[in-house]
């Protein structure tokens, strides 16, 4: 285990103790389970500490190669788009941190791409952190961002009761951006996602940092049952449709599975645009 990992683990344990402290709800709109679990941390120190704990960061070009936006790339229209999307969500959440489910209408629509970049966009803001959770157990992608592709993830958390939450949260080389992979390509029943443990995990994650925005990279709407389960966990749902790939009928049937109150809107992905133009 590397030095960094140890430090991370240590930090995770510290935060884990925090969540056990019961307390009154500190104003604002808070999910019911959040209220049960107690006071949230809004200690700015945690963020600065997190900043200090950043592993080696990736350069803008390296991120670019991986299809992730970077705040320095201001000439890139996508950066602006994700910034606006982030701002929209922050305004909608009235200052609370929220769980956002990203689900594609069908496979290949780029749901993971949107989830990843939305997370990165949240992390642009030095006062916010973001956590990307790979819930697409059938077709995971988040592990590609990690230095160790086989790092423990969600499945390990479910299968191993001993494992601590901090063990599955990994840095990805972007400041204030963490990710939870699925934990390897294994055939895992989706029922895990519907379990109480999953719900507890979500609350834990949410409560850990008040300024942490959690992005769930969900499966495509072909697995309508999974999307339904995940949408229960999320505060908001974004549906991804891709230019020239998604039919109106597919969008219609997918939208019927999601409650209107949670549906934030549709993200139209991969609109053709000539590069070098604004």
């Amino acid at each position: 285990m590397s030095k960094i990992e140890k430090a991370l683990e240590k930090a995770g344990e510290e935060r884990g103790s925090l969540q056990l402290v019961p307390g009154a709800v500190a104003g604002g709109r808070v999910a019911p389970w959040t209220a049960l679990l107690g006071q949230r941390s809004d200690d700015p120190e945690t963020i600065s500490r997190m900043d200090g704990n950043e592993p080696t960061l990736l350069s803008a070009d390296e991120l670019w190669d991986r299809g992730i936006i970077h705040p320095q790339r201001t000439e890139e229209p996508a950066v602006q788009v994700f910034r606006e999307l982030r701002t929209k969500i922050v305004q909608q959440s009235l200052g609370q941190n929220v769980v956002i489910l990203i689900t594609a209408v069908n496979k290949g629509n780029g749901g993971s791409f949107i989830a990843r970049n939305l997370g990165a966009a949240f992390a642009f803001d030095s006062a916010k952190t973001s956590l990307l959770v790979d819930c697409n157990l059938g077709n995971p992608s988040v592990h590609q961002l990690l230095s160790d592709a086989s790092a423990p993830g969600l499945v390990d958390y479910f299968e191993n009761p001993e494992i601590d939450v901090s063990r599955i949260i990994h840095p990805v080389g972007i400041p204030r951006f963490r990710a939870i992979p699925t934990g390897g390509l294994r055939d895992v029943p989706m029922e895990h996602l519907a379990s109480l443990k999953m719900r507890g995990l979500m609350d834990t994650l949410r409560e850990r940092y008040r300024e942490r925005f959690i992005v769930l990279d969900g499966p495509s709407m072909a697995n309508i049952a999974d999307v339904r389960i995940l949408s229960e966990l999320a505060d908001y749902v974004l549906v991804v449709a891709r230019h020239g790939r998604t039919t109106n009928a597919q969008i219609e049937s997918g939208l019927s599975a999601i409650s209107n109150t949670k549906l934030l809107g549709i993200v139209f992905n991969d609109e053709p645009r000539i590069p070098w133009t604004r």
Binding site: E76, V81, G110, G244, L255, I266, F268, P272
Partner: protein
């Protein structure tokens, strides 16, 4: 789905970029097809001529009323029918050189149909009906010219000939009519002359005179009859008076003388007796004398009584005629004379009256005939004079036409001896190919954008599903992809340039006439 034009344009550009390879492929294919079609397209030469139909030339206003120029404008209107008539088309076949191969009648018909299809007859825009344009298209340069020229020549010849024959026919008709009326007029004149000769009284005013004469005759008869009646009454009265008067006062003659003597003597006697006695000598003498006288008177009466039945006067008697009787007798004979004269005058007047009545009978019959003939004569004369005028006008018109002054068909623009190539040129195909090569993919992309069930426009989603579009994420170009894109774009540009270069080269080569 409502979109603003700039939205459509932007979406189209993006779509074209997205499907750039398809775009270029379509561009190349369309251009190649256009080049191929351009090569295969047959050359055609269009020759054109225009004919001016001048229906208002200088001579017409001058000759207004005196001559009528045949109406060319009407022929201008149906120039198409005239030009495509069998007669002209046969001439065109001849001049166009089709008859050299001795085509059958059916083949000729076919050829004519083909020529008709390649010919356009229309009135030049702006010139109204006055300018007839004939366009003819052929794939042989010389023939295009020959046929067009033939069209113009034959058309004009046909129209002029028709015009001439028309005016000639009109003239002949008018002439025939005029002659007919002249003949009628002569006949009427003859009849009139005969009638006048046979009936002298038949002259204007004869009837009035006759009636005046009849009236005067009637008056005369009446007056004379009245006079006659008067004379007759006078005669009767005289007659009666004459009968009442004695013819002679014969009794007063001898016997009367005696009686007068006797009375005289008696008176003296009576006077003497007053102073003397009967025995006085004077008295006795007187008594003797009276006695003698009485005897004498008796003897005289006796003689007269005897002579009376013989109804002759006793010449020896002293006859004294009655003067009243004489007078009456004279008057009576005078009145008889008057009566006779009047009677003869009446008879004469009546004879005259009868004569005049007969004459008037004749006169009336002649009058009706005369009126009829005169009427005929006048009408015929009017018509004849009118026809004569018309005939002269027709003659002038005919001269006008034969001197070609009224001719108002002119070849305004003769067919060019070497008509330029017409129809789509090769460069048309090249330019059309380029334009279509761009427009066709754009059209395809536009229809794909509109009708593809897959979503290609973000605002279509919100409109259709009622869900807001949270974000429109453009394609993220990674550095490696951009490198590939650059190469691809260079390749595509090269392909487009090559296509354009090929088109341009072929155009130039074709223009120089090498192909």
């Amino acid at each position: 789905m409502e979109m603003y034009p700039e939205q459509i344009a932007k979406a189209l550009i993006n779509e074209s970029f997205h499907s750039r390879r398809l775009f270029v492929a379509l561009f190349v294919v369309v251009n190649l097809v256009a080049l191929a079609v351009g090569f295969g397209w047959p050359k055609s030469y269009m020759s054109s001529t225009s004919i001016l139909v001048d229906d208002k030339n200088i001579i017409q206003p001058l000759m207004l009323g005196a001559a009528v120029a045949t109406d060319i404008a009407d022929r201008g209107k149906n120039a198409r029918e005239v030009i495509f008539s069998r007669k002209i088309m046969s001439g065109v076949l001849e001049r166009g050189g089709w008859m050299k191969n001795n085509p059958s009648a059916a083949q000729q018909d076919q050829l004519i149909e083909q020529i008709k299809r390649r010919t356009t007859v229309f009135n030049a825009p702006g010139g109204g009906k006055a300018i007839i344009n004939i366009d003819y298209r052929d794939n042989e340069q010389v023939r295009a010219y020959l046929v067009t020229e033939a069209f113009a020549d034959l058309f004009i010849a046909e129209v002029v000939a028709e015009k001439k024959s028309e005016i000639l026919a009109a003239f002949e008709f008018i002439d025939k009519q005029a002659q007919g009326y002249e003949h009628k007029l002569t006949i009427t004149e003859d009849e009139l002359r005969q009638l006048r000769a046979s009936n002298l009284g038949a002259r204007p005013g004869g009837e009035v005179e006759l009636s005046a004469r009849l009236i005067s005759l009637n008056t005369r008869i009446e007056n004379t009859t009245l006079e006659l009646r008067e004379a007759e009454m006078k005669h009767a009265s005289l007659d009666r008076q004459v009968n009442g008067e004695a013819e002679v006062t014969v009794l007063a003659t001898r016997e009367g003388q005696f009686r007068a003597r006797i009375a005289e003597l008696q008176a003296r006697l009576d006077t003497l007796r007053l102073s003397f006695h009967d025995t006085h000598p004077d008295i006795v003498q007187l008594k003797n004398q009276i006695q003698d006288l009485r005897a004498e008177a008796g003897a005289q009466r006796e003689r007269r009584e005897k002579a009376k039945p013989s109804d002759r006067l006793e010449s020896d008697e002293t006859v004294v005629n009655n003067p009243v009787y004489q007078q009456l007798r004279r008057e009576l004979s005078q009145s008889q004379l008057t009566i006779d004269a009047l009677k003869s005058r009446i008879a004469e007047a009546q004879r005259l009256l009868r004569e005049e009545a007969n004459r008037s009978k004749d006169l009336h019959g002649g009058d009706a005939r005369l009126a009829e003939l005169t009427r005929d004569y006048q009408i015929n004369r009017d018509i004849y004079q009118d026809l004569l005028r018309r005939r002269e006008r027709a003659r002038v018109s005919m001269n006008l036409d034969s001197d070609s002054l009224g001719l108002s068909l002119k070849i305004l623009e003769p067919a060019a001896p070497s008509p330029p190539v017409s129809g789509p040129r090769f460069w048309h195909f090249v330019v059309g190919g380029v334009a279509l090569g761009i427009l066709l993919p754009l059209g395809l992309f536009y229809s794909r954008m509109m009708f593809d069930p897959r979503v290609r426009l973000a605002n279509a989603i919100s409109q259709r599903h009622g869900v807001p579009v949270a974000a429109i994420v453009p394609h993220l170009w990674k550095p490696g992809d951009l490198m590939g894109l650059r190469k691809e774009l260079v390749m595509l540009a090269a392909v487009v340039a090559a296509t354009l270069a090929l088109s341009a080269t072929l155009s130039v080569v074709r223009l120089l006439g090498a192909l």
